[in-house]
């Protein structure tokens, strides 16, 4: 229950299945395309995603703070 209140929109599983089906529909096999990435690109993308994730967490925290006041 706590999981669903944290993600009011959709569970991670649903999003996972959705991404998988969109890839499938367009004939994309993750096992194949992930070889297109160089180690450096992978590192760069990883940094970008981690950074955005942190920003979202900060945003949610701020939102909860203002709600609690």
């Amino acid at each position: 229950m706590s999981e669903s209140s944290k993600d009011p929109m959709m569970s991670n599983k649903v999003v996972e299945v959705m991404v998988d089906s969109i890839f499938r529909k367009n004939g994309i096999k993750p096992e194949e395309v992930k070889n297109n990435l160089s180690e450096k690109q992978r590192e760069m993308l990883k940094e970008m995603v981690t950074d955005l994730k942190a920003q979202v967490e900060e945003f949610q925290e701020k939102k909860n703070e203002s709600k609690a006041e």
Partner: protein
Amino acid sequence: MMHKKEWRALDYCDDERNNQAEVEEAAKQKNITKQSSEEWIIIKDSEGVTVTTTDTQAAISLQVGIEVAIAVVLSITLADSDKAKAVFQDLEQVMKTKQSNRQKTIVEKSKNVNITTTDIDIAINIQLLIQLLLAIVVSLDIL
């Protein structure tokens, strides 16, 4: 028959709180002008009003940032740009690009009111977008 005179915040100056109210009002103005045009908070003829809102502009730029990140991940990973476009289009269907809600809050002839507004639409959208991005990078073994 005379109507009962309606109460007005600015009609009387009989307590020392009025001096304080002026100061508060100055700070409040600044707070309101920071809002994007989509959120309106109108305060008329009132005193002791406290406003707390989320910064919609920051939320929108965060949202755009995640959308761009999704596009970048797809275009780098899927060497075929037509395919990347097709995938992004399919994802867009779910991302619903509605920017934010348009809410109006009007406070009139009131005393000691606390207002807290949150743009729930955009908060949920950001949550969904980051989930999408994470699901994509996990399936591509980036994260």
